[in-house]
Symmetry: C2
Subunit: 346 residues, 2 copies
């Protein structure tokens, strides 16, 4: 471990997260679900979605957009559709409220969808599809973000970084899970290159005139590109439609307009689909899951990696140690915030 | 129109297709659904899935794998799941049999899935998602193919060209539809480059040692690559799982093993998901579809193209003319086949 990192015990990380969020004004449900999500990401050494995100959750309150005590409202819309209105809270409490309804509907109907509306969203999607796959169900999850990404052949931002996530149950093993942005580069990476004055990778951005650029400042004035050319662009458009108009929520363009310079995390909706293998196949489902295992063996047997393998290895290390590595500057910042909040809340 | 093409009247194309397929031994349902699919593709000037495909449907019978008179069996598996066993027939008759059940289930439950099993599959997926979108529903369709494509970081074929297709209803307009292979290049394009002794585009294939190659012969000995690196590879794995083990059907590796050198079209399953906007939103659905229109305007307003725009323009030309352009060598071949079959069936 490099000097840039410090080990923090899992219990201490949870206590720090919850006390910070509670002191800042989040409700117990929000504090618990946000902390659980960022601690799990940190245990997986997914630093971009780990404890670092607590800082933006604290900033979110200060910028006055979020309702930190919002209670999500669950609405049973149809035999296989549940909507949860997050009421301007963070998405995670809404997901917790909707999850049992989604899994029950998926088992009863064979397939079901959970739409989360009016939520602030900062987290990766893999924790959600992993939770659903842990229930023996197959899961797909999509959200929009802020309009930063140009469509293929275009020059101006329309799409968000629009992640696509998938989970598949593997009996006795961690699920097969992937979660990727449909943008060619993460938004955070653009900012990082900008601060470090480093050129962007080729093919990730265009300038305000629509010309390819590797200059991160010009990329911010212009637009990011999707991965995979017109195919990635088509997927990104699909995600706008599924997580936006289909469920009555913002597109990425509407999310950034709502933000209106506040620079908080995107405010929008999320669509999650769950499928029940047993409904398709009955008792044959478990035999057919072995076909999936044969596929994974064919991938790993030639030295290729399954998407979440690195995270799962990190998780095993963290579980064994009862502690996880966190960037020292993130912990320092969180401790400063804790000190400030203790003063405020005394 | 170049000399390589000949115009054929829509009625004549339909009559030619149906009579050829009937004479070859296909049932009326198969002859009608196959002809309808290839004529529609040809009207859209989608030559790779147009009348040309009649030839492979005729070859399919000669190679003894398909049951050209198979009657699909519809099974109501769960409130939101319908399966259709194609019984070794071509997928299209099975889709026709399952479509009304799928759309009814989607309207009742809000989301529903159609699994087609044990089908030979040669067609694009856009005709299917377009049909569903024409019913006012949102559609996703996926199938595997033959194992020709290596996973990211691998060197041996595991995945098929595994198409992903999406349809979105646009009131008063053709639906927003895309349909792309998750391989970096179409299988047919590899064959074309091989015959013409032309190098492949960079980044589309590897040789038997896993090294990048632009030599189509070496690509056939090695593997094709997915589009978009590890992200396209993840999507391709997802499609294997959804259209294979989830619905109790072949993966691409199992499909090519079943083929066993017969070189017919892949034999496998297909998963189609339909979502009903009205179930999510009730009367607000139509207002929310306008958010989708704003997205399309933002794409087209900057000179970028929507995925199916070229096909829709070709369709308008074909509908106006009552005729469509077909490659002369395809029509010649079909006429030779017709002459041969007339002799056989006399």
């Amino acid at each position: 471990m490099s000097d840039d990192f410090e080990m923090i015990a899992t219990d201490e990380a949870r206590a720090l997260g919850e006390s910070l969020l509670l002191a800042a004004g989040y409700s117990e449900d929000h504090a618990r679900t946000i902390t659980d999500c960022v601690v799990r990401a940190q245990m997986d050494e997914c630093h971009s979605h780990g404890l670092y995100r607590l800082i933006s959750c604290l900033d979110l309150i200060e910028r006055g957009k979020v309702d930190p005590a919002a209670t999500p409202v669950v609405e049973d819309r149809a035999p296989a559709i549940v909507r949860v209105d997050a009421r301007r809270g963070v998405s995670l409490a809404a997901f917790e409220a909707g999850l049992p309804v989604l899994t029950e509907k998926a088992r009863q109907s064979g397939i079901a969808a959970l739409a989360i509306n009016n939520c602030f969203h900062f987290s990766a999607l893999w924790p959600e599809v992993e939770r659903i796959a842990d229930e023996g169900l197959v899961a797909i999850a999509v959200t929009v973000s802020h309009a930063w990404v140009a469509p293929a052949g275009g020059s101006r931002p329309v799409f968000g970084t629009n992640p696509f996530s998938f989970g598949w149950p593997r009996p006795g093993k961690h699920p097969f899970v992937f979660d990727f942005a449909t943008s060619a580069i993460a938004r955070g990476d653009i900012e990082l290159h900008r601060r470090m004055k480093l050129p962007l990778p080729e093919g990730t951005a265009i300038d305000a005139d629509g010309e390819p650029t590797t200059d991160p400042d010009k990329a911010v004035e212009g637009a990011m590109l999707t991965f995979g050319g017109h195919k990635g662009s088509a997927l990104s458009a699909m995600i706008e439609l599924l997580a936006g108009p289909l469920i009555g929520d913002f597109t990425s363009a509407e999310s950034i307009a709502f933000d209106d310079g506040a620079k908080v995390v995107p405010f929008h909706g999320e669509l999650i689909i769950a499928l029940d293998p047993a409904s398709f196949l009955g008792q044959a489902a478990s035999d057919n899951l072995k076909r999936g295992e044969a596929l994974f063996e064919a991938v790993e047997g030639q030295g290729a990696r399954l998407p979440a393998a690195r995270r799962y290895r990190a998780r095993a290390r963290s579980e064994k140690a009862g502690a996880m590595p966190v960037r020292r500057n993130v912990l320092d910042e969180l401790r400063v915030r804790a000190a400030t909040l203790e003063i405020k809340t005394r």
